[in-house]
């Protein structure tokens, strides 16, 4: 018996990870993902663990390579979309991508900004980023996404100021900016914490 659950995490990676992990602890193993839906199958409670990894800054070929690497380590990998893109026909601009990762085209990075990595629970630690330098680089890539989105909102705000083409309510700008500032600050705090630690330790 399968069950589907609809959830939308607006790009909140930690909340998503906790939720999937809790489902597994309660005996539901994630087997399939689509744009807004997660499908689960019954399993022995607590037999799987999950990590949610942001890969939206990677180019498509690099993402595939990373996925193969994870599979080679014995993990299962599901992909998920962040739903934070600007699409134009078959081409999508992902403001948070790096270099060629910015443009996603079919059949590339469509709906694949997130890896959900599954491991059979074996009592071993399950950290994806285990040293400070790498963790800092990873959190920077996530923060970069939020900063890029902030940039887009600010650009729209400027447009709205100089040429009121579309009457976007001002309050929407306020909401968008404050919603994006929260994760930006949280990740900045994480980054500076790791930086402080990396000054004396590795």
């Amino acid at each position: 018996m399968r069950k589907g659950e609809f959830r939308y995490f607006v790009g909140l990676l930690d909340a998503q990870e906790k939720w999937i992990d809790r489902m597994a602890a309660n005996g539901w193993r994630l087997v399939k993902t689509s744009i807004l839906c997660y499908e689960f199958e019954p399993c022995e409670p607590g037999s799987y663990e999950y990590r949610v990894e942001f890969v939206g800054a990677l180019s498509y070929s690099r993402m595939q390579d990373y996925r193969d690497f994870l599979l080679g380590l014995g993990y299962k990998v599901l992909t998920k979309s962040l739903n934070l893109n600007i699409s134009f026909g078959k081409i999508r601009w992902r403001p948070f991508g790096k270099g060629r990762g910015q443009i996603a085209t079919s059949p590339g990075g469509y709906n694949k900004e997130i890896f959900i990595i599954e491991k059979k629970a074996d009592g071993e630690d399950f950290d994806i980023h285990s040293n400070y330098e790498d963790a800092i680089a990873y959190y920077r890539s996530i923060r970069g996404m939020y900063i890029a989105l902030l940039g887009v909102v600010v650009m729209l705000l400027v447009l709205r100021l100089v040429a009121p083409i579309a009457a976007i309510p001002w309050v929407l700008f306020a909401i968008a900016i404050s919603l994006l500032l929260v994760p930006t600050c949280l990740y900045s705090r994480k980054i500076s914490m790791y930086k402080a630690l990396s000054r004396t330790n590795e």
């Binding site: 994870l70 950290d127 994806i128 980023h129 285990s130 330098e133 790498d134 963790a135 590795e202």
Partner: protein, 113 residues
């Protein structure tokens, strides 16, 4: 206060780098490198998948390790240390010996500190 990064002056390798280099003296794939570090450090160092992926990528770019040509249908890529990589490890080994000698001398050594 100027935060001088030790590795710019002394050329010390990070532990992750050194362990990955040691793990590929024999051709090895990601999973093998991961097991090597866990087993050889008694579980003290457990490289995260993302960290290991980044480390391998960096070392390949620096030509300290090289991917082996695909032998058939194995999906796992194998890597082996290069001549340059071995030089780097040997230099690190003598640096570590120096540091250990110094620390042992200062702290007391032989357990009678």
């Amino acid at each position: 206060m100027i935060g001088i990064r030790d590795n710019i002056r002394g050329g010390a390798l990070t532990e992750t780098t050194l362990l990955v280099l040691l793990a590929v003296y024999q051709p090895n794939h990601g999973y093998g490198i991961s097991r090597f570090t866990i087993e050889e450090t008694g579980g003290r160092v457990r490289l995260g998948a993302g960290t290991l992926y980044g480390a391998i990528d960096t070392l390949v770019k620096k030509k300290w390790i090289a991917p082996l040509e695909d032998e058939g249908y194995t999906r796992r890529k194998q890597y082996v240390i290069t001549g340059l990589g071995k030089q780097i490890v040997e230099r690190e080994l003598s640096r570590l010996n120096e540091v250990m000698e110094l620390a042992t001398r200062v702290v007391g050594g032989n357990g009678n500190a």
